[in-house]
């Protein structure tokens, strides 16, 4: 018995060792970015990340301090746009997806399985094929280069609908009947009784959708045409020129856009994870 115990302890150490090494390898590029944000961009542009740039020495806060004044304060605009889009898109998208998902999960009605199949179907169709017609539509609606142009096509989000539906199926039906007896309307039951019960689901989806919005690339790249309307990823992308004259701003901007997200993640890791595992199948 003792021998088995010792053996499993050795295996345990080995496992932790392998995982720690893998984890450090995965964190390494982040470490490289953080240090790069505190170095002159020109040098990095010419030589790339070298062994000497990986030693935390000779760092300067110049880039970070200059971030908001470079290019007539463009980064401030990008940050504002990213935050506005993230807040609106997350709020609307999570609310409407919860609304629909609840309806699909709570009620038996004609057409339910059709709608559910449609939601699942939309989850597997790559939305990228629609960029050309959506672009024309957004121009037609005069929403090009606006925050709403970025947000509207994605307000109802199939993945989130499916997630809320799965959650709603588990909600106690007795509350629905109790609400009805008290004379609360069906919509009222959703707002006053069921929404509070779905708070964990809201937490997971708010985090997931904000993250997606914050890092979204292709669609804002198409919709936002002027520098003042760029989001952070689009703005940073515009700095990725072959001449490298903007690397100071690029690297410090990347640092500022990334580190807060990592901190939020570490605080709410549980919600991130549950949001993600939502998509996988319950056996």
């Amino acid at each position: 018995m003792r021998i088995i115990g010792r053996k499993s302890k050795v295996i345990g150490f080995g496992t932790v060792g392998i995982l720690t090494v893998t984890g450090l390898v995965f964190l390494f590029p982040v470490y490289a970015l953080v240090l790069a944000a505190f170095r002159p961009g020109q040098e990095l542009m010419r030589f790339g990340i070298t062994l000497s740039t990986l030693i935390p020495e000779g760092l300067s806060t110049e880039n970070i301090l200059g971030l908001f004044t470079a290019r007539k304060g463009a980064y401030g605009f990008w940050l504002r746009n990213s935050i506005v889009i993230m807040a609106l898109r997350t709020g609307l998208s999570v609310f409407f997806s919860a609304f629909v998902g609840y309806g699909l999960g709570m009620y038996e009605f004609k057409g339910r399985s059709f709608f559910l199949s449609l939601v699942l179907f939309l989850m597997v169709v790559p939305i990228q094929i629609l960029i050309l017609p959506l672009y024309r539509m957004i121009i037609g609606l005069r929403l090009i280069n606006t925050v709403w142009g970025v947000i509207l096509p994605f307000v109802v989000y199939p993945f989130a609908i499916f997630f809320f539906r799965q959650y709603a199926v588990t909600l106690p039906r007795a509350f629905l009947d109790a609400g009805r007896i008290d004379g609360v309307s069906e919509i009222g039951i959703f707002f006053r009784i069921m929404m509070p019960l779905m708070i964990p689901a809201f937490g997971a989806m708010i985090i997931l959708v904000s993250l997606q919005s914050w890092n979204d690339f292709l669609w804002p790249l198409i919709v936002m045409r002027t520098e003042k309307m760029f989001t952070i990823p689009i703005g940073l992308n515009s700095l990725l020129t072959p001449y490298g004259n903007n690397y100071d701003m690029l690297l410090s901007g990347a640092f500022v856009a990334t580190v807060p997200i990592i901190i939020v993640f570490l605080l709410f890791q549980r919600f991130f994870i549950s949001g993600l595992s939502a998509g996988s199948i319950k056996g």
Partner: protein, 295 residues
């Protein structure tokens, strides 16, 4: 009383209404519109029907390169991003909670980062100077320093798959971990009593019972792989050497926006739609994904 039951009957449709509306406006209409556009020649201020000409134009080397690259990328992401995360998830599952959470977090952090930031870091790590980190390692092992981004051929695909591995391993681990939690512990205990070792348990219990998760992760890898655009755009904004990083969506973007040839771009889009539906539905049919999904 009738009014009462009526509102109850109507209620689900009120709940589903936003979805119907959004589906009609932002999916069905664009799909039909892209289908129509694919039979048109669209130049500013002028639209005319040209029959199947755009589809005939698909038969060109660039389109085939794009399809080949998307399929290759999809293939490699599946080959790499199923076994590695699965093994890491099994290892993570075998160690106590606190350590496990910390390590999961470390592996998950790349998924939080914008593709622009990721592209920037990898550009700098794989810079073409002799001093740059990756070339430094290559020299250490006696190899020739490379201009990784400019060299084309397999090096472009290698970079794309490497970035995908870095970004998505943590996410796939999460999927596999939630799959592992649903395997009844008693099965392992019973196997131990029968004298099964860790390797046997992995192959005889873990892998078969993880099948639903594996199917799901493969499915999202298929969709993600075929729809890839951003990584290629970030690494080669002006176009990759010999089109080694050209993907289908990149081709839609290039023809539709950069060359303002929306009719042809739409034909590429329709081709991609068919490709995705063909591959994914064949796959889902074989594995019975849809049956499991409908709980």
């Amino acid at each position: 009383m009738t009014l009462f039951t009526d509102s109850r009957k109507r209620a689900p449709y009120i709940f589903v209404f936003p979805f119907i509306l959004s589906f009609l406006i932002f999916f069905l209409y664009p799909v039909i519109s892209t289908l129509v556009m694919s039979f048109q020649e669209i130049v500013p201020g002028q639209v005319r029907f040209i029959g199947g000409t755009n589809y005939k134009r698909l038969l060109n080397p660039q389109f085939f390169t794009a399809v080949k690259n998307s399929l290759t990328y999809m293939f490699w992401t599946i080959v790499v991003l199923i076994p590695i995360p699965m093994i890491l998830a099994v290892l993570l599952n075998s160690i106590p909670g606190k350590k496990s959470y910390l390590l999961r977090g470390m592996l998950f952090i790349p998924a939080l980062m914008s593709v622009v930031v990721v592209g920037t870091i990898f550009r700098l790590l794989f810079a073409s100077s002799d001093m740059a980190l990756v070339n430094r390692f290559v020299r250490l092992f006696g190899g020739e320093p490379q201009a990784w981004l400019l060299a084309g051929s397999w090096k472009s695909m290698f970079l794309l798959v490497l970035i995908a591995t870095w970004r998505w391993t943590g996410i796939n681990i999460v999927y596999f971990l939630s799959g592992l939690q649903q395997i009844p512990q008693e099965l392992y205990e019973a196997a131990e009593i029968d004298g099964a070792g860790p390797v046997q348990k992995f192959f005889r219990i873990t892998i078969p019972l993880l099948k639903p998760t594996t199917v799901f992760v493969t499915a999202i890898s298929i969709f993600g792989g075929l729809a890839m655009f951003e990584e290629s755009y970030i690494l080669w904004s002006a176009g990759s050497p010999d089109n080694s990083g050209l993907t289908i969506v990149r081709y839609i973007y290039r023809r539709g926006f950069e060359a303002a040839d929306m009719g042809f771009g739409s034909a590429v889009g329709i081709a991609l739609l068919f490709l995705v539906l063909l591959i994914s539905f064949t796959f889902l049919k074989i594995t019975g994904f849809f049956k499991q999904e409908r709980v």
